[in-house]
Structure formats: C-alpha cells, structure tokens
C-alpha cells in the first residue's frame, strides 16, 4: 500500500478506536456505578431518549428559540463588528485611543456582565441577544480593525493613482482585503455568541437551551440533560464546520492563511 | 565499488528522481564529476535544474536514486560535518542563539568540551571578520554578517570540503562582491575544497578555478570550464569577460528560446 494510503488507514483506525473507547468507558462508568446514576446518563440512555426528549414541546420550543437568538446575535455581531472595526481601522487616532481597552475587554471574563445585562433588559430575547452580541463583537472588531491596519498601503496608493475616489478605494480595495479577517473574526465570535446565549439562559430565566440544561441538572434528571448537551454539542460542531467551509471557499485567492 | 581516484570528491553515475502523486520527476541523470583537492568549483545551470538537490546528495542529506558519491575515498552515507560542511541559502542561523553559540553548534552536537568549543569558534569568527560580534543575536546583525556567521559555523568543524548553496543570493551586489572576495581569501588561507552553486555567471567565473555547467532537467554535467587566471582577479579584464561569454553561450543552449533576456552581465 502506498505510504499515503497506509497512513490514512492508521489515522481512521485511531480515530474510530478512540471514539469507541470513549463511548465504552463512558458506558462502563455508568453501568458500574462509579458515578451514581442520579448524576450521569450513559450513551445508550442518551441514544434511546434522544428523539423522544427532543420532540417534547418543552424542549423543542426552547431549542428553536435559542437558535433564533443565536442567529440574530451572530448576524448583528458580524455587521457591527465589521462596521466598528472599519471605523477604528480607518481613523488611527480612534484606534490608538481605544485599542488597550478593547484588548482588556477581550481578555476579561465576560460573564461578570451577565447580571448587569439582565438588570437592564429583564428576562427574554433582548437580554440574551445583547449580552451575546456584546461578547461576540469584541473579537470581530479586533480582527477587522487589525486587518484594515494591515492593508497593503501600496494597493491604496496604486488605486488612488489610477483615479479612485476614497469611497471607491473602500469598496474595491479595503473591503475585499479584509474579508479573510472578517471570516476569522466570525469563526472566533460564533463560538462565543452561541456559548454566551446559552450562558445567559443558564443564569436566569425560563427560556432556551441554557434553561433546559440548568433545569434538568438542578432537578437531577441526567438523561434529558445529557440529551440536550449532546444536541448542543452537535449543533456547535455543525455551525463551526459551516464557518470553516465558508472560510475555505471565500479565501481561495489568499495564498497565505494565518 | 571504490573510487580509484585521487580527487577529493568523486561523483559516479548519480541520478535522482522524485515521486509525486504517482508521477516520476527526474531531476538528475547520470552525473559524473571529479573535484581535485583545493579547487574552488562553481556550478551553474538553468533555474530549477536541481543544483541544490545535487549539493544535498553530496552533503549526505539526500540519497541518490542510483550512483554513488565518494569524499576522500569514503562513500557518502549520511551527513559527515567534519568532512563535508554545508552553507545554506538563507544562512539558517538559529535565532535564539548568539553568534558564537551558533558557530559552536556543530561542536556542541559532537560533544566537544566547552573551553575548546569557545576557542575554536572564536578563531573562525575572527577569520570571517566578525570579531566583537560574538554575543550579538542574528536579528541584530546585517545580512552579510549573517552569511559570515554561517561560513564560520561550517568551517569550525574543519571539514575538507565546503558546500555552498547559493549562499549570497539574498544580498545586494556590493555585499556579494565583498563577501565573494573574502571567501576567496579564506579559501586560499585554509586550502579547502569548495563546491559552490550559484545563479550568477559573473560570480561563478570570478571566484572559481573550475565552472561546472549543468544541462536543463534532467540535469547532467554539460561541460567543465577551467578558469586559468591568477588571484586576485579583475572581473573586467578581457580573459574574465571572454570566459563569461563562453559560459553564457553554453548555458544559452540549455535554456528554451523564449526565456533568454539579458546577457552574461
């Protein structure tokens, strides 16, 4: 077998074996009572109850609700992050003034603001939307801001020398140049936005996946809890994979990927 | 099969091909070459001919697909830095080590004790004209100086043969010229045998005792031109110019018509 194919076989084998081992160990932990069944659910239980749990309106509605908040917050994040990033990137004084604050904001645990957002917005859509957007906008803005800063000045000089107006320079040079950074920013923010919608729901309220998880955990119902967790994990993976594909497709011209 | 020759480097029937996605790329075909002790041999050829590949094979970093290389009568099976040292295109200085620690690298690998390492490294740093810069980091010295460090690093193991793969290609013309003449001085002082790959016909003819012209891919030795001129050389005199023109004409035969632009410089 040629070297490449042989390695591919090994890789697939290791991956499959690892996943199976993980599931088996998980199952055994529950079967043998290493952790009491009050606190955990096994893979078989999750598999059996997956469909039924999700079909309950109690669950189903909250899943859809969460997805709608997430979609809205993510869209807003991309839009606002790009706009603010463009502004900060273009106006150098603005950027140098705000840069350290943005970096600090990026590095601090945003969870400390969850109670503030709740106090301001009360329960419901706005609270979750604005908190998740707040968290997502920061990495998005930083990525776009740095990308604008790094646009090759020669390209701009060149376009100006060909008679382009400032607005045209924006449309034809700057915005296409920052698309890779926009996608990177989107990739980083999408995790944060999804996670923070759920976090806000876990903190307070009766809506969403976060509430479901928190409810099942506090009521010692591990099976539906694990079903919800597995579902969320799958959703997260799908969403992330989608962004990665978009990134690949839209940046084919950009030879050097970070 | 031993080498029945007094030459330091003996290349017999070396061929090399690479396999890529089921296709075979033949880079070198039946190279035969002998380099006598103490000669300065430059290699020129069309772009991408595999001159670097050839050098890597002589250095023992790559295995030939067929044929053999002998250095000092011993077949080359792997790197032997105390016999054959290589200077790379982009100097490959480790950025986290100072100049002197970079030069000491080969000695360190061989387990030479600290005191001896330092004094030997110092000797060669002085030889290449970098006294005083021992504790500088690569990021703090110029491009030309980095190349000098790379040369010192290669020389410190006192190899018989020095292989150089387009070592000055990233430098400006002035620095290149200075480094070239310094290299010649070092060569004449130490009596090493040098195999030097370059793109520049001017450089090849000005520095070398012999110029090896490679054919286009798959490469073999087209011709070996002896440069019978005394050192130090004046690149502008008629003999040098005629040698350059000769080499250029030979090289032109290997380059497809549409690529020919300039001249022999």
């Amino acid at each position: 077998m040629p070297e490449g194919r042989k390695e591919l076989a090994y890789v697939s084998l290791i991956q499959a074996a690892s996943v199976i081992a993980f599931l088996v160990i998980w199952q055994e932990i529950v079967n043998r009572g290493i952790v009491p069944s009050l606190f955990v659910a096994s893979p078989t239980q999750v598999a059996l109850h997956f469909g039924p749990t999700l079909l309950e309106p109690f669950v189903f509605e909250r899943v859809l609700y969460t997805l709608s908040v997430f979609a809205a917050a993510f869209a807003f994040t991309v839009f606002a992050g790009t706009v603010i990033g463009l502004l900060l990137g273009t106006f150098i004084y603005l950027r140098s003034a705000l840069e350290p604050y943005m970096i600090v904001l990026y590095s601090i645990p945003k969870a400390i603001f969850i109670p503030v957002f709740w106090t301001f917005f009360g329960l419901g859509f706005s609270y979750q939307f604005w908190f998740a957007s707040f968290a997502g906008v920061i990495p998005m803005t930083l990525n776009v801001m740095y990308a604008v800063k790094d646009v090759d000045p020669e390209l701009i000089t060149l376009s100006r020398s060909l008679g382009a107006s400032p607005l045209q320079v924006y449309y034809k040079v700057i915005i296409p140049s920052i698309i890779p950074a926009m996608l990177t920013g989107a990739r980083i923010s999408i995790r944060a936005v999804f996670a923070d919608v759920i976090a806000a729901q876990e903190f307070v309220g009766t809506t969403g996946i976060g509430y479901l998880a928190q409810y099942y955990a506090t009521n010692f119902e591990p099976v539906p809890l694990y079903v919800v967790v597995v579902l969320t994990a799958l959703l997260g993976m799908v969403v992330y994979e989608a962004i990665i594909q978009a990134e690949k497709r839209l940046t084919r011209w950009n030879v050097q990927l970070s | 099969m031993g080498s029945n020759s007094t030459a330091v480097i003996v290349v017999r029937g070396v061929s090399k091909f690479f396999e890529y996605k089921g296709k075979r790329l033949e880079v070198l075909r039946d190279i035969n070459l002998e380099v006598e002790r103490g000669n300065f041999v430059t290699i020129v050829g069309p772009s991408g001919t595999g001159k670097s590949t050839f050098l890597s094979i002589v250095a023992g970093l790559l295995r030939p697909s067929s044929g053999k290389v002998f250095v000092d009568g011993v077949p080359v099976e792997g790197p032997r830095p105390d016999r054959i040292a290589m200077v790379f295109q982009d100097h490959a200085l480790l950025p986290w080590r100072t100049v002197i620690k970079n030069v000491e690298f080969g000695l360190e690998v061989r387990g030479v004790p600290k005191e001896e390492r330092r004094s030997r490294a110092q000797k060669y740093i002085d030889l290449v004209g970098l006294s005083g810069f021992e504790d500088y980091y690569p990021s703090q010295i110029s491009g030309g100086m980095k190349h000098r460090v790379a040369i010192a690093r290669a020389l410190v193991l006192e190899p018989e043969v020095l292989l150089m793969d387009e070592p000055f290609v990233s430098l400006d013309e002035q620095t290149r010229y200075l480094l070239g003449s310094d290299l010649v001085k070092i060569w004449r002082r130490t009596g090493k045998t040098i195999l030097f790959v370059t793109h520049s016909i001017r450089e090849a003819c000005t520095l070398a005792t012999h110029v090896v012209i490679f054919t286009k891919r798959p490469a073999s030795v087209k011709e070996v031109v002896k440069v019978d001129a005394d050192y130090p050389r004046d690149p502008e005199d008629t003999l040098m110019a005629s040698i350059r023109r000769y080499v250029w004409n030979k090289l032109k035969e290997e380059i497809p018509q549409q690529e020919i632009g300039g001249g022999p410089e």
Partner: protein, 253 residues
C-alpha cells in the same frame, strides 16, 4: 506618537469615567443598573466586611477563585503541553486527533457547566473542571500550529551538522516552539479564568463570580460593581505579569 496615543487613551478613560458617573446620576439610567462611579468607589472598603451580604467578605471569595484558577491553569498547561508534544512529534497521532480536537473545541463551553455541577456539586471542583475545559484547548491548538510552522531549514542545518534525533528535538524543535508555548501559557491563563468565572456566576457556593451574582440578586449594585472591578483588575494584573515574562524570555526576537 507614543505620547499622543497615551494622551488619547487617557482622554477616553476620562470620558468613560465621566459617563459612568453622570449617566446614573442624572437618572438617564437607573442606579440599580449602573451604580455611579462615586458610589461604587466609596463602597469599596465595605467589600472586605466579613458579615455583610457576602460571608467572610472579599478575601475568602478571592482565595476561592484563585484556588480554582490555579489548579485549572496548571492542569491545562500540563495537559496541553504533553498532548501538544505527543501529537506534534508523532505525526500519525497528530493527524488522527487534530480534527477531533477541533470538533470538541467547537462545542459551546457553557453547556458543560450543568453537567459538571450535577456531578461535582457547587464547590470548587466543578469550577476547576470548567476552567480546565475552557483552558486546555487554545494552548493545545496553538502548540500544534507551532509544530507545523517549525522552519524546516533549521532541521536540515542541524542534520547536516550530524545531530541525532534527540539533539534535533532539544536543540531545534523545543527552542522553535518556545514562543508558542509561551503564547499557550497566556491563552491558558485567560481562558481558564473565563471558564472559572462563568461557572461561579451561573451556579456556585463561593468565589468572585458568585459574589457578583449574589450582590445582583440582592439589588446591591455598588457591591456588584465593586466585585466586577476586582475581577477586571485581577485580569489586568495577569496580563501585565504574563507580558512582562514574555518580554524577558524573548529578548532575542
């Protein structure tokens, strides 16, 4: 430019502080939502009070958070470095597990917490586990990308000098990875902190995040903002410390 930039930054700070004071003071925003700057600051000494809203005051909560952070941080670093080197050195393992790592990284971290507090309770263990889950992936991914970026020319050079595989590893691979390991340490610190605080805010028995949520539930806005300030100051302290260490270690760059 540096002085100018500093000036602008100070200006922005002044603006923010002014807004922080005026907005609630003028009634534009309720003081419950945004506790005025002055009120928040003079309330500060009160956070040390042992028998106020927060049992034991600031110190025990700070210690709890630091304890959780410390353990989770060390675990994250240890695991990410070990796995990073394992997967980087043994290419087959790397190729097998890297896609799996990215998949798990895609899961929104906040969903783990209910599972954790169900199994581990509301004490420090669940926060340590949360901090670990948040903190282990970024450095691991970083180290793996560092392996990919090792300059092949250094390896060729070292091999041409007759280096053994072990020497290649210690003299070229490890120093090449040093910046990535350092960056990984910084990432681990930041993300572990994020995970720990998130857990504390959502459901806990102690810690700085818990104090914030308790103050919030009890409509004590000044106290809540005081604790928010503490969390932010701690984060800034970490950033400053890590940056100083990075600068000293990488003076050659």
């Amino acid at each position: 430019m540096n002085l100018k930039a500093f000036g602008f930054q100070a200006l922005v700070l002044g603006l923010l502080l002014t807004v922080w004071q005026l907005l609630p003071m003028e009634g534009i925003v309720s003081p419950q939502i945004l506790s005025p700057l002055y009120t928040t600051l003079i309330n500060f000494p009160k956070i040390f009070a042992r028998n106020g809203l927060i049992p034991g005051g600031l110190i025990p909560q700070l210690l709890t958070t630091l304890e959780e952070l410390g353990v989770a941080f060390v675990m994250s670093i240890a695991v990410s470095i070990v796995l990073g080197f394992l997967f980087g050195y043994f290419k087959v393992l790397g190729r097998s597990y890297e896609p799996l790592i990215y998949l798990v990284y895609a899961v929104p971290g906040s969903i783990y917490y209910p599972v954790l507090f169900l199994t581990l309770g509301l004490g420090v263990q669940s926060k340590i586990a949360m901090g670990f889950l948040f903190g282990v992936f970024p450095p691991l991914i970083n180290i793996l990308s560092g392996f990919r970026k090792i300059n092949g020319i250094y390896i060729s050079m070292a091999r041409s000098m007759g280096s053994s595989n072990v020497q290649l590893f210690t003299k070229v691979v490890v120093p090449s990875l040093a910046p990535y390991i350092m960056a990984g340490i910084r990432l681990a610190l930041i993300f572990t902190y994020i995970g720990v605080i998130l857990g504390e805010v959502i459901a806990s028995k102690g810690g700085l995040g818990w104090a914030i949520s308790i103050a919030n539930y009890n409509f004590n806005a000044p106290l809540m903002y005081d604790y928010i300030i503490v969390v932010v100051l701690l984060a800034v302290a970490f950033l400053v410390a890590i940056t100083a260490v990075e600068r000293r270690v990488f003076s050659y760059a």
